[in-house]
Symmetry: C2
Subunit: 434 residues, 2 copies
Amino acid sequence: MKIREEARAMKLAAPKLAASTQEQRNAALAAVAAALDAKREEIFAANHADMDAAELSGVSGAVMKRLKFDAGKLEDVIKGIHQLITLPDPLGRITLERELDEGLVLRRVTVPIGVIGVIFEARPDALVQISTLCIKSGNCAILKGGKETARTNRILFETIHTAAAEAGLPAECLLQAELHNEIDELLSCDKDVDLLIPRGSNAFVQYIMNNTKIPVMGHADGVCHIYVDQDADESIAIPVLLDAKTQYTAACNAVETILVHRGIAETFLPKLAAAFREAGIRLRGTEEAGGLMTGGDTAAPEAFEIMQEDEFHREYLELIASVRVVNGVEEAVEHINRFGSHHTDAIITDNDAAASYFMQMVDSAGVYRNCSTRFADGFRYGFGAEVGISTSKLHARGPVGLEGLVTYKYEITGAGHIVGDYASGRRQFHFRDL
Amino acid sequence: MKIREEARAMKLAAPKLAASTQEQRNAALAAVAAALDAKREEIFAANHADMDAAELSGVSGAVMKRLKFDAGKLEDVIKGIHQLITLPDPLGRITLERELDEGLVLRRVTVPIGVIGVIFEARPDALVQISTLCIKSGNCAILKGGKETARTNRILFETIHTAAAEAGLPAECLLQAELHNEIDELLSCDKDVDLLIPRGSNAFVQYIMNNTKIPVMGHADGVCHIYVDQDADESIAIPVLLDAKTQYTAACNAVETILVHRGIAETFLPKLAAAFREAGIRLRGTEEAGGLMTGGDTAAPEAFEIMQEDEFHREYLELIASVRVVNGVEEAVEHINRFGSHHTDAIITDNDAAASYFMQMVDSAGVYRNCSTRFADGFRYGFGAEVGISTSKLHARGPVGLEGLVTYKYEITGAGHIVGDYASGRRQFHFRDL
């Protein structure tokens, strides 16, 4: 069947999944966890085949680590599923209950979004996380994973899908897209797909955003900043900057630009330069920052590269950092709101007024004080897992877990109430929250 | 200045408005209410000029009523502003507070969306409602109202803008677009405008949705249904249907399609036909419905028009209704999810099981039992006012009041916490909600 027809069938089945009880969805999750464990050898064999093919085609070591799905990763995802089971049901929560008038009651009730398309990188554990988050939240999901782990994806998907359907969920609730050209078909299903969550490179996410009428949740780039204030504790600043830059350079929440208060630049920047060079980080930035970081040794271009202002928009995802000296927290905020991507930005300071100004005025999904930008992650926020990180301001912002996968509907029950009675003044609303 | 440049300036000023206190925003609202009252004669004079011009150009009586802004409407909007002042601050609410680890605290705090563009029909009271909702929620707003009330809009806008700025809000927080070609310019400001709320005809809203990268909140059409179940109380059904169809035919929440259970069709449809004909409502629908409503008198084409199935998608906004006989609540739900616009749909029944199935399975922003679809409205929900009604599933659904105009950001405060410590196992998260 074509993706378009399958999406249509999924849309029609979505209310059935939405109507399933918490017990049914949790039982399906338990069945999925047991099935993954039972199929472990087949899963590992498929992953070996993917890894061998990737190695032959010259995939880098860092990427190879992501493709790998071994006993440790299987244990992690199974643990994650059991954690998900213990989380409260995100559906059917009454978030507003109001008597509008005698016998006329309004309720706002959480419901699933419906049909979600997730397009993600070659990371088998992501497939498990995303599909189980969708089951828990009662959403139907169309999954398209990276081609480098096609064999692993297929066995994982089949295992999850079979276990969920046998546990009583509608068979249409999960669908795997395997061909790259199916992505364009998926983008055209705006009548049946309620939300797209693309993960991957900036260019890929931009492509999705520019080629569909379906709402897209996610982020194209992560240009994260750390501003080191005049009142920063240096013993905190250097380790936080090193962690934010080096702990996982390819992550969207890694820091790209470091802003330093002019009042401490002269003493702080040489120390930062030494620490970053030792960690193998290439430095770029304004002439002023370069002068302070190289001790004025302009004959050392390998030590610091002077760059143009508009390059502060750049996301490196590598051991490279941009550095700029600013007059204070106001200028830092201005720079971040202008050059940033509204993802996650941090201030290092012991000054409460500066911190509070920064956290209020920076227009990003995450604003941090005295810690690494790398904390921007659903697991680290205690959400159990995430389907992605959103830099959009609508619906869900930051790491998106279960709460971002639900919406609501308004229910009213009456006893023949008509609007004409209120328009004519015969009856009056009294709005009493219950 | 061009809209594009003004939107840029507004975007940069948005954090300042977002940082304003509740007291400042409420004081500005009080100043706005006082200024509107003080300028009443000028406002009425401008409105008289608009009404005279509209009458000359042959605008219909129903529309003329909407254009009018007299002492009664002024009193209503001033009362609305004072009500808005009493509502709790939607900003700065902490919706999640969690200790991730010793000294590392995550908070989710509500913040304004930022810059909102609202394009609305010629209704002067809408201009006041929308701009004051934006002030209360700390959002900058670009307002483009219908041209038929251009003079009224201008004096209302200037009065509101001057009062808000003099009360201390940033002058950039409100902007009026007056020329129709400025709409296209506004649609291109996707870097600076966070949300568009278009109100108006189906074609106009579709045009906006298809010609911008800015997220759009609203609805193109409102094909609302009422399903009369086998166990309906007839003494409720007829008045509710009449109210939903006739109380305000041009509204998006007026009913367009009536579905009737086959078990009662033979007795109920003739009564419905009589009541609707008396109210001047033209009837259309399936052959079966027509036979029952005309008593088989096919020689009375003026009494009932047989229509094609795909016409059930149609929104009439006039005294016309589509009628169909269905086998029961399952078929009613199927019809609604297929032909409806996910706006507001109702069931008339005394049967709890049928009602609960209907409310669970109908995939609409509003699902009602035993009352008129016309209740879908921010004022009737007790929201004070609304900026529009959303049929989108993301962010805000149904009537959109203050809550739909805010988003959130995540704040973390630490003491030099780095992710490396958690990755290596040196430290562990403990996730304690505060």
